[in-house]
């Protein structure tokens, strides 16, 4: 079972109308496998896609990944059947597109309560990730993030957001800088994870590295990807390096030693270690452990 601390460095979308992609996706290194009922499935195939997702998640579930189902929007004709299918399939998480208010999240969470009960599934066992795709979603991000204990993350979607804002989408991403900040702030306030936008050019790996570096520096916990070749690159930015881990352990060891000696102020390599540095070190060690890295003692 996954929760707010589960590793979510990368989320790969897979169309639920493509059995070959659904079969191949578990062999990559994404942390989240997102079976999609929304944008990648034509209207004429929504019914068949639900059945494929249901049978795949129930009887051919990928191991060692967070299993996510993206349903259609709450205001679509597909939503009710999508939710019935998704809850009964028992994924780890349901991903909601185009969320704009806390009321929507509360409504969906209540629906999930009812469906879980009908299906005999333990209450609250399925998480939610809310996709923020419009200016209204960004304006309400803080309330959306805090709207349900099922929420484990918010995810920003740049294409729809920039369209709603009448912006031009660029690789540099300056136009979504504010939205990115707001999303991270909202997630930190609610104690959940922040997931960044996709990088659409699957042939520009240097551009992906640059974008991922910015994503990480801005405080995001992971990024949605649209092609398997992007996964390992993005994962590397959200996995602490050996150097970072070593430094973090030295910081924590110095603090511990200072505490033992009753020192009020502690320094390492000539620099004072204050609270934010300690928090960053703890975060680094936690991320390393979540990624399965053995974190030993200080060298």
């Amino acid at each position: 079972m996954t929760d707010r601390n589960t590793l979510r460095r990368t989320g790969l979308y897979v169309s639920a109308s493509s059995p070959v992609n659904m079969a191949q996706a578990p062999f990559y290194n994404e942390d989240m496998l997102i079976y999609d009922l929304e944008d990648s499935v034509p209207k004429s195939e929504k019914d068949a896609a639900r059945l494929l997702i249901y049978h795949t998640v129930k009887y051919h579930r990928p191991k060692d990944k967070e299993v996510v189902i993206r349903v259609n929007g709450i205001d679509t004709i597909y939503f009710d059947q999508d939710m019935e299918c998704a809850v009964r399939a028992m994924p780890d998480t349901i991903r909601l597109p185009k969320v704009e208010s806390a009321a929507e999240v509360e409504q969906v969470s209540a629906l999930m309560d009812r469906l879980e009960k009908q299906a005999g599934i333990p209450a609250g066992s399925i998480n939610l990730i809310c996709n923020i795709e419009s200016f209204q979603g960004i304006l309400n991000a803080q309330e959306i993030a805090a709207a349900s204990p099922r929420n484990v993350a918010l995810a920003l979607s740049a294409e729809d957001f920039t369209a709603s804002m009448k912006m031009e989408r660029t690789k540099a991403g300056l136009e979504i800088f504010y939205a990115r900040n707001v999303l991270v702030l909202a997630c930190r306030a609610a104690g959940i994870q922040a997931l960044d936008v996709v990088f659409s050019d699957i042939n520009d790996l240097d551009g992906l590295r640059e974008d991922s570096r910015m994503t990480k520096n801005m405080g995001f916990d992971g990024k949605t990807v649209i092609h398997p070749r992007q996964i390992d690159i993005v994962n590397s930015f959200f996995t602490p390096s050996e150097k970072e881990i070593r430094h973090a352990l030295r910081v924590l060891a110095a603090i511990e030693e200072g505490r033992r000696q009753g020192k009020g102020a502690v320094s390492l390599d000539g620099n004072m270690i204050d609270e934010p540095i300690v928090l960053r070190a703890q975060n680094t060690v936690a991320r390393a452990k979540a990624a399965g890295i053995k974190v030993g003692g200080e060298r």
Binding site: P19, A23, D47, A48, L52, H55, T56, Y59, Q81, A119
Partner: protein, 97 residues
């Protein structure tokens, strides 16, 4: 469940199966299987087809199966979709699934 009209579900893409369902009044279940792995998995595929037909109470249908190496759960999903389309049912009884 009655097969009222011709329906198709699935594709000829690798790892998928295309299933064409037609009414077959008075003819029971007539299954025509085409698969590259028929020699090895033919019996298993047919077993799945007949099981789904029993579960969905389909007793009369001509079923054409063009298998491209689909897993068992894909065959089930595609056949259920084809039956529901042929029976003109747009809502799945998820409780019975």
């Amino acid at each position: 469940m009655e097969v009222k009209e011709i329906s198709v579900a699935g594709t000829l893409e690798s790892s998928d199966v295309q299933i064409i369902l037609k009414p077959n009044p008075g003819g029971g279940l007539a299954v025509d299987l085409e698969s590259d792995v028929k020699a090895i998995f033919g019996d298993a595929i047919l077993e799945t087809v007949y099981q789904v037909c029993r579960e969905m109470e389909v007793t009369e249908a001509a079923i054409e199966i063009h298998d491209k190496g689909a897993f068992d759960h894909v065959i089930r999903a595609r056949l259920i979709a084809a039956v529901l389309r042929a029976a003109k049912r747009d809502q799945v009884d998820w409780e019975r699934m």
